[in-house]
Structures are given as C-alpha cells and as structure tokens.
C-alpha cells in the first residue's frame, strides 16, 4: 500500500530503520488498530552492500572474508561454508586436525551467538540485566577467538584447505575453563528469564508458526526446528566430521516464541556436548592443506550447505574456470526466516512484535547482504 491508499483512522507506523528493537536497520511498516497489528511489510536494503556482486570481482580466497560480514555472529560458519564449497571444487579435503578445529570454532561461535541472542532478547523484552550476564561468557569465547584467530568478530580464520593458524597453546585449557563456567552458569539463564512468569506470559502461545508454514516460508535453523521441522544440516548433510560426533537435533513442535527460546537454550547444551567430545581429541598433524597461490575452480557449479547459528547457509558458486567466481549466491538463513515475521504479526500486539523479532533472531546484514 502506498501513502495515498491510507484510509482515515488507519494507523500506520514505521518501526525502523532507526529503532531499538530492529537490531540493525530493518524497516517494518505496521498497520495498527490500537495495539493490534493488522498487517506489516518489511523494507530491506538499508545495508545492502552487494556482497554477491563484490565477490564476482575477487579471487576465490579473497571473497571469503566478505562472508564474515554477512552474519557477523556466525562468521566462522560462513567462512566454513565458502571454504567447503571451494574445497569441493578443488577436490581436496581439509586435514583431520583442521576439520576438528573448524567444528570446535563453529560450535563456539554458535554458543557465542546464542548468548548474544539471549541477552538481546532480554533487552527487547525490557530486562536489561540478562544482556550483561550473557556477555560474561560470550566475552570468554571471544577472547579464545582473539587468541587463536587474531580477531574477535570477523575472524577470517577458516580458509580453503584448512584453517589459517594452528590453535593457540592455551586454547584447550581456556575452552575447558569456559565449558566448566558455562555449565555452572546456565542455570542463571533459567533463573533470570526462562522460569520468569513475565517471560513465560510474553512468549508462550505467541508467534505461532506451524510446520507447514515453516516449510513453505523456507525457514531453517532454530526457527524451523521449533516448529518441528527437521532441518539441521549437520545431521542431514554432515560436513567436516559432524557425522562422527554425538549430538542431538533439538526439536520442539509448539512453534511459538517460547519453543524457539527453549530450543536455543537446549542447542547451547548440545554445542557444549560437541565441544566436550572434541576438545580432548584434537588429532595431531597438519592444520592446513597448502593450496596454490591463485585458486581456480574447474568450470561448473558447487553448492555447499552449512548450519549456522540461525539456520541453513547455502553457498552457490558458479565457476567458468577463471580465477574469479562467475557468480556467487548466498542463501542466507535470515532472509528466509524473515518471511515468517509477516504471518506471525497478523493480529499480534506491538509488544509481541518485539518478542517475535527477538526469537526469530534476525541479523539484518545477513538479510541485506
């Protein structure tokens, strides 16, 4: 609907681009009746950087660093997806040590990402303290990243053929300490928010997404799993030795905000489980298969799916044999998860909008790319 179509007494409100709960620069146009939302329309593109176009001008090794900037909270997984796609084209496989390191890093960043989500959820619902409690352990994870990878957020650590650096000597020790502390502190999450009557009231039965809708709307990751759709790429199309670790795909069939909330908390426990299994069994050996200076993929197309913290990331590389990819397409999880917002918002209240956005866990740069 354009501006001229607005009838009298219809209340149109813009939420975003500069709004505290949109976690970035998403703009939602809401049609309201008092507190109730009649319809909504997302407007994207406020941080569209054309990563797909930029990738066409960069070499295979170089465009990976751009993907860290898409979903900056799962930078490792984004890099991993690209690296795996390129490795697929080059017919090489990362050495076993590198694979374990990749899985460890991916799970650590999943933990960090879910912690940030938890804190931001509290912030969105009006509780400020969870943010700081969540950042306590997240800070430890980021410190581990910083020691090994050299950066905290956009790591560029996973590269075709393995990982850039070997693990820092303190890595194992620090991760063990982190796991210990995290296990001791996870009950605080429950104490502060999960069990809280207000949070339960705000999330239970709100923002229902049925399994059929989730499939049709293309939702993946925790959003779809909370509706009972099995979609964990780590289980369905295992990569980097995920088939060798023992973990569960957490599922919930309620499909409401609380299901998504609960599922992410449960996923954190699974991530801890994976890390615990691997941390003592990091194989010795080389951490990187040395590739040529200029990587050229044989002509053809390569598709690699990876489970990031928010769902399935698909990297689709079309090569024409030159040193730059001909076309790179990122199927980002948040772009599809955003679809779920509109049907959910119909008939909901303004307060629900915030909790829905929080439990969908949208990262706007990942939508806009």
């Amino acid at each position: 609907m354009e501006t001229k179509d607005i009838k009298r007494d219809e209340f149109v409100i813009n939420v975003g681009p500069q709004h505290p709960s949109t976690h970035g620069v998403l703009r939602l146009e809401l049609w309201l009746d008092g507190e109730d939302i009649i319809d909504s329309k997302p407007h994207l593109g406020y941080i569209h950087r054309g990563i797909e176009k930029m990738s066409e001008a960069l070499g295979y090794k170089q465009f990976i660093y751009l993907t860290s900037r898409m979903d900056y909270l799962s930078a490792h997984m984004n890099n991993q997806a690209c690296s795996l796609a390129i490795e697929k084209g080059l017919q090489v496989e990362a050495p076993p040590r590198a694979q374990v390191i990749r899985v460890l890093m991916a799970e650590l960043s999943r933990l960090a990402s879910h912690q940030l989500w938890w804190g931001a959820l509290g912030l969105d619902l009006g509780a400020v303290s969870p943010f700081f409690y969540a950042f306590r352990e997240r800070e430890m994870i980021l410190e581990i990243f910083e020691e090994t990878c050299g950066s905290r957020l956009t790591m560029n650590y996973i590269t075709p053929g393995g990982v850039v650096n070997d693990l820092h000597p303190d890595f194992v020790k620090k991760v063990k300490k982190l796991i210990e502390q995290l296990k001791g502190n996870l009950h605080e999450y429950d104490q502060l928010l999960t069990g809280n009557a207000i949070l339960q009231a705000r999330t239970r039965g709100v923002g229902k997404l049925t399994a059929e809708d989730a499939i049709s709307l293309g939702c993946t990751g925790p959003v779809a799993r909370a509706s009972g759709v099995k979609c964990d790429v780590r289980k369905l199309h295992p990569y980097d030795g995920y088939d060798k670790v023992d973990f569960e795909e957490v599922l919930n069939d309620k499909g409401d905000n609380f299901a998504r909330y609960w599922l992410r908390i449960a996923e954190m426990e699974q991530s801890i489980r994976i890390i615990e299994q691997l941390i003592d069994n990091i194989p010795e050996g080389s951490y990187r298969e040395k590739l040529k200076g200029v990587v050229k993929l044989p002509a053809g197309e390569y598709y690699q799916r990876v489970e990031t913290a928010r769902g399935e990331l698909g990297v689709y590389i079309v090569s024409d044999g030159k040193k730059e990819p001909y076309r790179v397409r990122f199927r980002t999880p948040n772009f599809s998860n955003l679809n779920a917002l509109r049907p959910m918002l119909k008939g909901a209240k303004i307060g629900d909008m915030v909790s829905m956005m929080a439990t969908l866990d949208l990262i706007i740069p990942d939508i806009d790319r």
Binding site: D9, E10, V12, N14, P17, R27, E35
Partner: protein, 116 residues
C-alpha cells in the same frame, strides 16, 4: 501551615519548571534546522495523520474504572468510622462489596476486561 501549602507547592512546581525550562532556553545553543521540527518516526516521514479516532480498548477500561472508583470513594468514609459502628457496618459493607464484586464478575463475563 494550612491550606496555603497546596497553593504554595503548586506555585513551587510551576516556578521550578518555569525556571528550569527558561534557564535551559537561555543557556542552550539554538541552531534552527527544519528537520529538527519533524516528528520522530524512526527516520521516516509520518504516513497519514496521527490524530485519529483511537481504538476503543483503552477507553473501556476508563469507563469500568469510573464505576469502581466511585465505589471506592464511598469506602473511604466507611473505613474511617468502621470501628466505631462495629458489626452493622461490617455486614453492610459485605453486601456493598459483594455487589461490587458481582459487578466485576459481570464485567469479566462480558469480556469487558480482556483486551480487544
């Protein structure tokens, strides 16, 4: 100090606000820019008018409130003299509050108390 104190504090509040806002106006640096006069709506221009006929949900509570508030105003004088009158006052107020409570139950049954 007597009833003057109400006037005094009204004046105090007014004077304080006037002083503070006046001082703020005096001290602050003013740079006119038409964008400063726009209504904040997350950086977008407002669509449609803001002053619309508003949703009835908010007013419904005001109406129910009005009823109950009058009843509660009656309860205050009762509460003061209650102990002196004793049992009679208690039985009377039980009936009174019962009617109030039934009214609340009625409003609840009519769904006047759930948000629309």
């Amino acid at each position: 100090m007597g009833s003057v104190s109400i006037l005094l504090l009204m004046f105090c509040g007014f004077a304080f606000a006037a002083l503070a806002i006046g001082l703020g106006n005096k001290l602050s640096l003013k740079r006119y820019n038409p964008e400063k006069g726009e209504a904040y709506e997350c950086g977008m221009e407002t669509q449609g008018t803001t002053w619309v006929q508003f949703h009835v949900g908010y007013y419904l509570f005001a109406l129910v409130f009005l009823l109950f508030d009058v009843e509660i105003a009656f309860l205050y004088p009762w509460a003061v003299v209650f102990k002196e009158i004793g049992m009679v006052a208690f039985i009377e107020i039980v009936f009174f509050v019962l009617v109030l409570f039934l009214g609340l139950l009625y409003a609840h049954k009519k769904k006047a108390l759930s948000w629309m």
